[in-house]
Each structure stands twice: as C-alpha cells, then as structure tokens.
Symmetry: C2
C-alpha cells in the first residue's frame, strides 16, 4: 500500500493531533471536515490561534489570561477585595465563576506543586502569591486547589507560608457531592465524608 | 457573573468549535491545553491549516486531494488501470487502501447524489466520472459508494449512465461483517444477508 494522502494534508492531520483527546482517526476526520465543509472555519481557527499566541497576556495581579495588563475581574470595584481565592488553573476560575459562590478576587497559580514532576514552590512562583496576599487588604485566602495529591500539597504549602501572617487561610470542603447517592459515590469520597462529618 | 475570559481567548474557543464533535466544553479544554502546554503545536496547527487551505489541489484524474496536478496514485504505473473504483470521499479511498483490496485506480466523487439536500448528478459532476471511465483503458467500474440511501442512489445512477457502454459495472457486496455474529449484528444487515444469500 502506498500512502495516497498528500504531504500537506498529512501535515495538517498530524498537527491536529496536538489537541487533547484527538488521535489519528479523529484528526483525519477533522481535517477532511475542515477542507470539505468548513474552509472558512479553518481559516478563522488558524487566525485566532495566532492571535491568542501573540496577543494573550497574563494579568499582573491574578495571573489569569487577559488581553490587558490587569484583567477586568481584578479591576471590578464591586468585588470583595478582602477575599482572595487561590485556584490552580484558569479553567478552575471559570468553574468558580459559573458556580457563583465567590464574590472576591482570585489568584491563578497556573500550576501546582508536584514533586514527582520536579515542580517545586519556586516553579509556580508561590512568592508572587504571598506578596499578592500580603497587600494589606486581603483578610482571607481561600484555597481552592484540587483535592488531588498535588493540589493538597500545594494548599498545605501555601497555608504553612501564611501561618505567621494575620491572614485567615481556609480550604474548600470535601465530602459527598450535592445530590450524591451513597450507592453511586466512590468509596474514597464516602469514607472521607464520614471521617470529616460535621456536628449538627 | 461577569465573564472572566478575555475576548481573544473567547474567540479561540469559539473557533475551535468548527471542529467536528467539539462542543463548548471541549473547545475550552483544547484552548487551555494549547496555551498552557503546547504553544508550539498550536503555532504548527495554524500554519498547516493555512498551508492546506492554500496549497491543496484536487487531482485532475481522480478528484482526490493532492499537492500536484495529478496525484501519485494516478501516476503509479504498477496499478491496474483497467479497474476504476468509485468512492464518495477521500476518507473512503484511504479505507480501501488500508484494506489492500483494490489494485486499480480510483475516482473520488467528493459527494453523493442526495435529492433531499438538493444535490443532483450535476452538482457532483457525474459527467466528469463518465468521461474518465470512457478513456478506453478502463474495463470495469467498481462502485464502492456507501450502502446508505444516498450512496445507493448514486451507484444506481452511475450504473444506469454506463449501461450502454462496454464497461463492466460492479458493486461491492453487502452482508454480514467478517467475524460478525448473528446475535450482535443489526437486523437489517442480517435480513439483507439472507436475502442476498449465495449458492455454494
């Protein structure tokens, strides 16, 4: 069998594989779809990829993606500047905003402490967060890193570093999901929610 | 809730939705992945999209994508030029080549007759195929369009148009999949494979 796909097309298929969850088969399907049915969409995608790579900055205050020096959210006077919520990734911040459960400001770590991957506190610039938290306005730092080993380690490290300051450090709670049924929840979560049970 | 996503990023997320099977959530995940972990891949994707849109032609003989006027497969002297296999899409041609079941040449319709969508024989230039088939070398046209209503209609139309020529027109067979078990095959296929049973 000779490969009947021209090299430019092969290159496109191959480069589509950089997308998460896209393997050789999906990449081929995507390439054909773009060329046959959505050339306009493909051109727009190429353009916006370049725009994002060139134009997107990180907000100087919260580290989130922004097209300005300081992002809109950080500049919003309606938000409670005494509460600073720390998340790992921009997607986590979006999730928090969707849940409408936090009216304060954010700090996006853009990573997490992960000794196994050789990522220490310096690699994710924890000292920048500490400087940010100690601005004299922040009264509470809410740690909303994931409940994974790395997220836990990151939360623990930050809480240790803020121990001697007057800032209150809190952690989002862990337990059964809302609407969760014991029969279907994973045993680890269930055990943890018994262990961390609350007095009524 | 104020949208905390900068507009350039929103534009990227939105333009990723042109990919088949990619909804708002996957698009967001893809955008973050590209920006956080694979900026090089993103740049390469933008580049190869533009390259493919600008550089990819259709082979003059078989209609498949090609970066040359006539594609490599059509120029391959080792292939049997007396057999011409007609498929709907370039992906179908690739599948045929993977199956290594056809040593002849191809013609890619780049579509199918679909009255419901208002696509008639002229829209997919069936006359170009007829001219190609009547080159004096082709002895057999193998219709390998899909076994869908549209693929069937397309095959029927082509066979009718070639009826009065001396060219043998064949259709790929239909029936149980190789390794297929009666218990799991869909009833339509099973019924059809009884109806089209062969004498041993």
């Amino acid at each position: 069998m000779k490969d009947s796909t021209p090299s430019i097309l092969n290159e496109l298929i191959d480069s589509l594989k950089c997308l998460p969850g896209v393997g050789p088969k999906s990449a081929q399907r995507m390439a054909y779809h773009l060329l046959q049915r959505d050339q306009k969409g493909a051109r727009r995608l190429a353009f916006s990829l370049n725009m994002a790579l060139d134009g997107l900055k990180q907000c100087k205050r919260c580290n989130n993606y922004s097209d300005t020096e300081v992002c809109e959210l950080c500049l919003d006077a309606d938000r409670d500047a005494t509460k600073l919520c720390v998340v790992e990734m921009p997607a986590d911040l979006n999730r928090m905003e969707q849940a409408k459960c936090h009216s304060g400001l954010y700090y996006v770590l853009q990573g997490k402490i992960s000794p196994l991957d050789g990522i220490g506190p310096d690699d994710i610039q924890i000292d920048r967060l500490l400087t940010r938290a100690k601005d004299g306005i922040v009264e509470e730092v809410i740690l909303a890193t994931n409940y994974t080993a790395e997220g836990e380690a990151t939360a623990y490290y930050i809480s240790e570093m803020l121990k001697r300051s007057s800032i209150l450090v809190t952690r989002i709670s862990r337990g059964m999901p809302v609407g969760g049924e014991l029969e279907y929840v994973d045993t680890g979560t269930l055990a943890q929610s018994v262990y961390e049970r609350k007095t009524l």
